[in-house]
């Protein structure tokens, strides 16, 4: 027995020498007496002799950073962001404009004027706060409930409404469902409906930026806490960390994915809890506080540009129904909604902050709300009068050049329409 052990010990020793020769790094210090550090390729951690399972209660929850209280007062003066007056007003006005557009377009869907719509109620602070902290050059990958980001970036109400109507001025040429916006010019990648697909894409785009000389652009990727359950979300976090990408993964945690509440969506410390575990710089913020979101994204951007990917989880509440296809009273109590429309209303918080600073008052509010609303109504009237794109747009852009089989299908349809026009709503579409 003793001999045997001796023999294998010898063999091990020889092996060790071989490994030392092969290894590029020197052997780590092995501290004896309970402080042993393992050197597995997959984990560098201390050895212990006491077995302990860790669970979600082993760590304190990641705290929620906020700047404003519910009365719009700065809680800790050192945290007040230095934002100039013009930018602050622009942020607030974007929120109001968004809110007016949501109300009117939601109602227009109810009346059958457009086929579908989604509102942003309760998440205006997330959207405007984050957009204001970015550079216009930063590339945006969004989910769908981020219209405030798009407006702040400079997409016009006209562009957005034309998209909802799918008329010939819709930049997406009427092919996508309403609310699937996009603008190359403003660095907003056109949205997709399949959830979380944009997440690894955002990471890839960030990697491409990183390789450019003197890169000064980052990528921001918005996604819901529901979408974060998709396999693509995990892939994105892991790729971002291992490939060290200048990307901000921005989770809007609004408590619901359609009817599914967060306690049926995930366990553990939310989406932020996954960040440190996957090697991402992580912060959790109060998404109803536009200034807290601004601060978080401002800092995140600096970290990301150092090629350290960031995860932000912004907490909020989805005040509206999921979409016009949903009636949320089927799965949540009215009292729950009310709480979040009053004290925790992000628009109101920023408004109170501006009023405290003497930058806004009731009169300004009244004038601007009216202006914002009139603009939406007017734009809608115009959008409704515009024809849809020519039907041939249906078969364009599938490929860069139209392949022969598709050309043949186009001709087939052309011939068919010569005879059977009256079976189609041709008057709704642009003519040649």
């Amino acid at each position: 027995m003793a001999l045997k052990t001796g023999a294998s010990f010898l063999r091990l020793n020889r092996l060790n020498q071989v490994f030392r020769l092969l290894s590029t790094s020197s052997r780590p210090e092995i501290i004896q007496n309970g402080g042993n550090n393992a050197d597995f390729p997959g984990a560098k951690a201390p050895y212990v002799t006491e077995m302990k399972f860790v669970d979600e209660n082993s760590y304190d929850p990641i705290p929620i950073y906020r700047v404003l209280d519910n009365d719009g007062q700065v809680i800790d003066n050192r945290e007040e962001p230095a934002i100039d007056k013009e930018t602050l007003l622009n942020m607030y006005k974007t929120m109001v404009q968004l809110n007016q557009m949501d109300k009117i377009m939601y109602e227009s869907q109810r009346q059958g004027r457009i086929s579908f719509f989604m509102t942003n109620y309760g998440e205006e602070g997330i959207q405007v706060g984050s957009a204001a902290a970015l550079s216009p050059k930063d590339l945006i990958f969004a989910q769908y409930r981020e219209v405030g980001v798009l407006l702040y970036r400079g997409m016009t109400v006209t562009e957005l409404i034309n998209q909802c109507y799918g008329n010939h001025e819709d930049p997406g040429k009427g092919r996508h469902m309403p609310v699937h916006y996009g603008s190359k010019q403003r660095n907003i990648v056109t949205l997709s409906s399949p959830l979380a697909t944009q997440m690894p894409q955002a990471v890839g785009a960030a990697y491409a930026y990183k390789r450019l000389p003197n890169n000064d652009r980052c990528v921001i990727c918005y996604f819901g806490e529901g979408a974060a359950s998709e396999g693509d979300a995990h892939a994105a976090f892991n790729f971002a960390a291992t490939l060290e990408c200048p990307v901000i993964m921005f989770c809007r945690n609004n408590g619901y994915a359609i009817s599914t509440p967060t306690n049926e969506q995930y366990r553990g410390d939310g989406i932020a809890g996954r960040g440190p575990a996957m090697g991402l710089h992580t912060v959790r913020v109060d998404g109803t506080d536009a200034l807290a979101v601004y601060r978080a994204v401002q800092r995140a951007r600096a970290i990301a540009l150092d090629n350290k990917p960031v995860l932000i989880e912004a907490m909020s509440y989805r005040v509206g129904h999921h979409s016009t296809s949903d009636d949320s009273t089927a799965y949540r109590p009215l009292e729950e909604i009310q709480k979040w429309t009053q004290a925790e209303n992000p628009i109101q918080k920023l408004r109170l902050y501006l009023e405290n600073k003497g930058l806004w008052d009731a009169e300004a509010e009244k004038t601007y709300v009216k202006e914002a609303r009139d603009m939406v109504v007017r734009t809608m009237q115009d959008a409704e009068k515009k024809k849809k794109p020519h039907w041939k747009e249906m078969l364009e852009d599938v490929y860069y050049d139209m392949p022969p089989h598709l050309q043949k299908q186009m001709q087939q349809m052309e011939k068919h329409l010569e005879k059977y026009q009256e079976h189609y709503p041709m008057d709704q579409f642009q003519k040649e």
Binding site: I104, E107, G174, G226, G231, E264, R373, E384, Q409
Partner: protein, 367 residues
């Protein structure tokens, strides 16, 4: 929600002056209800959503291993197909999953491997692709690769598919051909409440994993008298819905109703008496019924919403020319969605509408 509602009311007044000529597109077909009874006995009026709910209710009642799950299934599902089932059978049997289709499919395969009956709902067929690997590489090959030791026949994946008038790229697709290409999966598409109940119950009892694609526009479009008791319609069996001798029209799902109307138009306008077949099972498909019909009529038009290239019509056309070559009076024709993604505002021009099918049929008859 009271505050919201009030605001909405005020806004309606505001919007009254806006021109109103962009009403939602109306539906592209007329529904032809089943008249013949599937089985003897008591019936009840059900639309397709209710018939599916009823089939799952029967299964959950009779099969204690059965479970129903997917995104938002707990409160009844976004199309209300699981309405009331969680209250009836408990949260451990009817439940929400996290938002992850590959998880739903893989979890369902696991349930079935362990002997349970798994009814997995994918919220839209357009979102089944994250689950493609689990379905095509796993579910489809489970029995084969284990030499018959393991199987996941207890799994049925339900997914709403097809055009609805305003679904655009990602709420309209018909992915049946992708799954028909994966040997080991059975693929079924009902045309209405009776077919849905009989076929879904058959899938749930089937020894192979099934993909059950529900044309979502049919959920509420019409009600039929559906037997209250449990019954099955055989998988792999087509139905001849109308007999004729001039041409064979083959479709499935919503398109069956388009073809029934086309047959009527052909009778009135062309004096042609066409046979209409609902394929019902995409895989395995009913070769006998199809070949016998085409041998009789000598002409065949296949129509489906999915794009033309590699749509399941291609498989049918190839098999028909192989088997019925001598009896064919004209090449087999296909009317299908164009080879483009499913477009939002162009939907009426994208689908194989009754006008397109009639145009094709006219040319087929004149060939």
């Amino acid at each position: 929600m009271t505050t919201l509602t009030k605001k909405v009311l005020n806004l309606s007044r505001l919007l009254k002056n806006v021109d109103n000529h962009t009403k939602r597109l109306s539906s592209h077909f007329n529904y032809y209800p089943d008249i013949e009874k599937s089985i003897e006995g008591e019936t009840s009026k059900m639309n397709m959503m209710q018939a599916i709910n009823n089939a799952m209710d029967i299964t959950l009642k009779n099969d204690p291993s059965a479970m129903l799950f997917g995104e938002d299934v707990g409160f009844g599902g976004v199309f209300r197909c699981s309405l009331g089932l969680q209250e009836k059978y408990g949260k451990d049997r009817v439940f929400n999953t996290p938002l992850c289709e590959q998880g739903i499919a893989g979890f369902g395969i696991g349930l079935a491997t362990a002997g349970a009956t798994a009814i997995a709902e994918i919220q839209f067929a357009d979102y089944i692709f994250p689950a493609f690997d689990q379905l095509v590489n796993e579910a489809a090959k489970y029995r084969y690769r284990s030499g018959g030791q393991f199987d996941c026949g207890g799994l049925t994946v339900r997914a709403p598919c097809g055009a609805v008038g305003h679904g655009g790229l990602y709420h309209s697709q018909s992915p049946e051909a992708y799954f028909a290409h994966a040997a080991g999966l059975k693929v079924v598409v009902p045309r209405g409440p009776n077919a849905a109940k009989g076929l879904l119950l058959a899938c749930l009892q089937e020894r192979d994993p099934c993909i059950f694609l529900e044309p979502k526009i049919l959920y509420r479009s019409a009600a039929e008298d559906v037997p209250v008791d449990s019954f099955t319609l055989p998988i792999g069996k087509a139905q001849v819905l109308k007999e004729g001798d001039a041409a064979t029209l083959i479709g499935w799902g919503t398109q069956v109703h388009v073809l029934l109307e086309v047959a009527q138009m052909a009778q009135e306008q062309l004096g042609a008496n066409c046979e209409v077949i609902d394929l019902m099972s995409i895989l395995p498909w009913d070769q006998d019924t199809v070949f016998n019909s085409v041998k009789k009529t000598g002409r065949c038009l296949i129509a489906h919403e999915a794009p033309l290239t590699c749509g399941f019509g291609a498989e049918l056309a190839a098999s028909i020319q192989e088997e019925c070559f001598l009896q064919l009076e004209a090449p087999v024709r296909r009317a299908a969605g164009w080879d483009a993604p499913f477009p939002h505002v162009f939907e009426p021009l994208y689908l194989p509408s009754r006008a397109r099918c009639l145009d094709d049929l006219t040319q087929l008859l004149r060939y």
